[in-house]
């Protein structure tokens, strides 16, 4: 062991490079797996944020039905659709239906402007479907709808863009496309769902928005619906598809001109995507481990000439084959496990840093695996050439080139 330690110290550069290779391999695997798990967790949390009972219906704008010209009518969601969906006998699994109208334009506050994509005319019911609490103030209420009040509930992203730091948005007057609204509530921040920013919106009463902004065109941007409970979700989706196919007079075989989606379905898709992503990261991790291993192997092979000569000298001085193998094996083991341990420390350490968007989750399995594999690589490539050289006669080893 002492001889091994001497060998390590006598060849600092080689030792450092070997350790670095193993360190990088180990740390990379731990980190990539941690990031993969973190992202997977995050996706699940975010999709859950959508509210699992909520179902959203959108017009399918790029359907081939349009291109085929089978129907001249515009593809849209109408009052008739909402009425049909609200019919408890036709849609027994649905307990809430709420249409929205959407617009985009410029919001202004005291000279600050913000280009808003989602100015939504909604209702308290839509708020119930969406199931997101307010952080401050209140959501829209029935009175706002009835009185066509010029009030709005705002999302955090819009607040960040429109107001200066430390300004309470609730109570402020803003203008959207020239219409003044008073902010009555701020919704809880939901973050990104992986596809879009969920805090980039303003809600105003649907009656007000129809009056002042979009006009009475009988076309809804999104219809929200809610399954009576989680178990009824699949039936609710089926009922919606059936009813809309009827109200849109689709012939059998026609592609639907609407999209129905639900957070649970997204959750499944998101889980699958995250799984794929994790797999990909695992693959990258395996490659980095391999590259670390190849690095170690290269260092070992490059120094094998020199080391074989050293083995020749040692054998000439009376070293037994076991002396040589023991020395090089302990040298490789010491280097590899030291590199591996530092790698684990780095991987776990960095893995516990909380990043702005995501919390990596270090899994014990990845630690054990990466440490084990990289140490094995180090030991194999450290000891194998040495044990082969140890079998040579001293002269063969001394002449080795």
């Amino acid at each position: 062991m002492r001889v091994a330690l001497r060998g390590i110290l006598a060849n600092r550069m080689r030792s450092a490079l070997t350790m670095l290779g193993i360190l990088i391999g180990t740390a990379a695997v731990i980190l990539l797996v941690a990031v993969g798990t973190g992202i997977s967790n995050q996706v699940q949390v975010q999709i859950k944020n959508l509210g699992t009972n909520a179902i959203y219906i959108l017009p399918e704008r790029n359907t081939s039905a349009q291109n085929r010209g089978t129907s001249a009518r515009r593809i849209r969601l109408t009052k008739a659709d909402v009425k049909a969906l609200s019919d408890k006998t036709r849609a027994p699994s649905i307990d809430l239906v709420a249409p929205t109208v959407g617009s985009s334009g410029t919001v202004t506050w005291q000279g600050n402007t913000y280009a808003l994509q989602n100015f939504i005319g909604g209702s308290p019911e839509f708020g119930d479907i969406r199931n997101t609490p307010v952080a401050e103030g209140r959501f829209l209420n029935e009175e706002d709808i009835a009185s066509h009040a010029k009030v709005a509930v705002i999302g955090q992203t819009v607040v960040d863009h429109l107001f200066g730091k430390g300004i309470d948005p609730v109570g402020q007057q803003v203008e959207f496309n020239g219409v003044r609204f008073r902010i009555v509530g701020l919704q809880v921040k939901k973050g990104s769902n992986g596809f879009q920013d969920q805090d980039d919106f303003m809600f105003a009463p649907i009656s007000t928005v129809i009056d002042n902004i979009v006009g009475n065109v009988d076309s809804y941007t999104i219809i929200g619906a809610r399954a009576a409970n989680k178990d009824m979700l699949p039936e609710a989706m089926v009922e919606i598809r059936t009813i809309l196919s009827q109200t849109h007079a689709l012939k059998p075989g026609d592609p639907p001109d609407f999209i129905v989606f639900n957070a649970a379905a997204l959750l499944a898709a998101g889980k699958a995507a995250a799984k794929q992503f994790q797999l990909l990261l695992g693959f990258v991790a395996a490659i980095s481990l391999l590259i670390g291993g190849i690095g170690v192997m290269n260092i070992m092979l490059v120094t094998v000439t020199e080391r074989t000569r050293e083995i020749g000298i040692r054998k000439a001085l009376g070293a037994q084959r076991t002396d040589i193998v023991t020395q090089f094996l302990s040298e490789a083991m010491l280097l590899a496990s030291l590199g591996g341990l530092i790698g684990v420390a780095v991987g776990v350490g960095v893995g516990h840093l909380k990043s702005a968007t995501m919390q990596p989750v270090v899994s014990p399995g990845s630690v054990v695996l990466s440490f084990g594999v990289s140490v094995l690589i180090g030991i194999f490539f450290g000891a194998y050439p040495a044990s082969r050289a140890a079998a040579l006669t001293p002269m063969e080893a001394l002449r080795y080139e």
Partner: protein, 274 residues
């Protein structure tokens, strides 16, 4: 198990080469027939210089004598024991305990101190740490490097490196010292120092075989063997050149007593050959 007796005519040779052949790359296109039936007997306590043109097979022969290489044909006996009958482990013991080899190119372990280099054969002999240190120190003092023990091998001059290599070769107190052109890379001053060391070791009873191409160096030996084209071309005894200088006998005598137990073991191959 016998104690080291005085070398006498009745004594069997300590080294015996019997019709030895060595071919490199035998059977291939690159086959070189280097040793073509060399027979040589070296008595205990002798001091043999091997001379010959470059490429005549001197190193090849010495490597076989040092158990670093194996002959293609013929027998090699150390104290009457055929080396080819020894196991790999026993061979390692013979190299460690019985033979001290000094390479022409020193072959010190790089980036390792002089002391650690000299300690190496003692490590493989299983000598305890403190004892190892003490003996390595003694060996280094014997070659006049007592004040250079901590120096890395690359921080020493050629002559100093050669002396470290000699100290390493004698550290376990081997009965036989083999040296391949130990003065080949040295200036006359260093050559003189190295030759003095060999003289002292021989005076202390060690058998020495040294390769050289310098007549001056050969004149220090008791016997000169000339190799030509893989055969022994001449073999003569030198007239006694000098008796050991009195000042040096004390030193070697002191060294001899510290190593006496090892020497005993080493001169009895029965220890390594069951």
């Amino acid at each position: 198990m016998t104690a080291l007796p005085a070398a006498g005519p009745a004594e069997k040779p300590v080294l015996l080469l019997d019709r030895l052949h060595k071919k490199y790359n035998p059977g291939s296109q690159l086959e070189v027939h280097v040793l073509k039936g060399v027979s040589l007997a070296v008595e205990r306590g002798d001091y043999v210089a091997i001379m010959g043109h470059s490429g005549s097979g001197k190193s090849t022969m010495l490597n076989i004598l040092g158990c670093l290489d194996v002959p293609t044909e013929g027998r090699y006996l150390i104290d009457g024991v055929d080396v080819s009958s020894l196991s790999e482990a026993q061979l390692a013991d013979v190299r460690n305990q019985y033979l001290g080899f000094v390479f022409q190119s020193f072959n010190l372990v790089r980036r390792t101190s002089a002391l650690a280099n000299v300690e190496l054969p003692l490590v493989y002999a299983g000598v305890s740490r403190s004892e190892r240190r003490r003996r390595a120190q003694t060996a280094l003092e014997l070659v006049g490097l007592g004040d250079r023990t901590g120096h890395m091998s690359n921080e020493l001059s050629g002559g100093q490196q050669q002396r470290v290599a000699i100290a390493r070769a004698i550290a376990t107190g081997p009965a036989i010292i083999l040296a391949d052109e130990p003065t080949g890379n040295l200036d006359s001053q260093s050559t003189e120092e190295v030759l003095q060391i060999f003289g002292r070791l021989n005076a202390a009873g060690r058998t020495i075989v040294i390769i050289t191409h310098e007549d001056d160096v050969a004149s220090h030996a008791k016997r000169v063997v000339i190799l030509a084209d893989g055969r022994i071309a001449a073999d003569r005894r030198n007239a006694p050149l000098h008796s050991s200088p009195p000042g040096l006998v004390d030193l070697t005598a002191a060294e001899e007593t510290t190593e006496i137990s090892v020497t005993d073991a080493a001169t009895a191959p029965g220890v390594v050959v069951p």
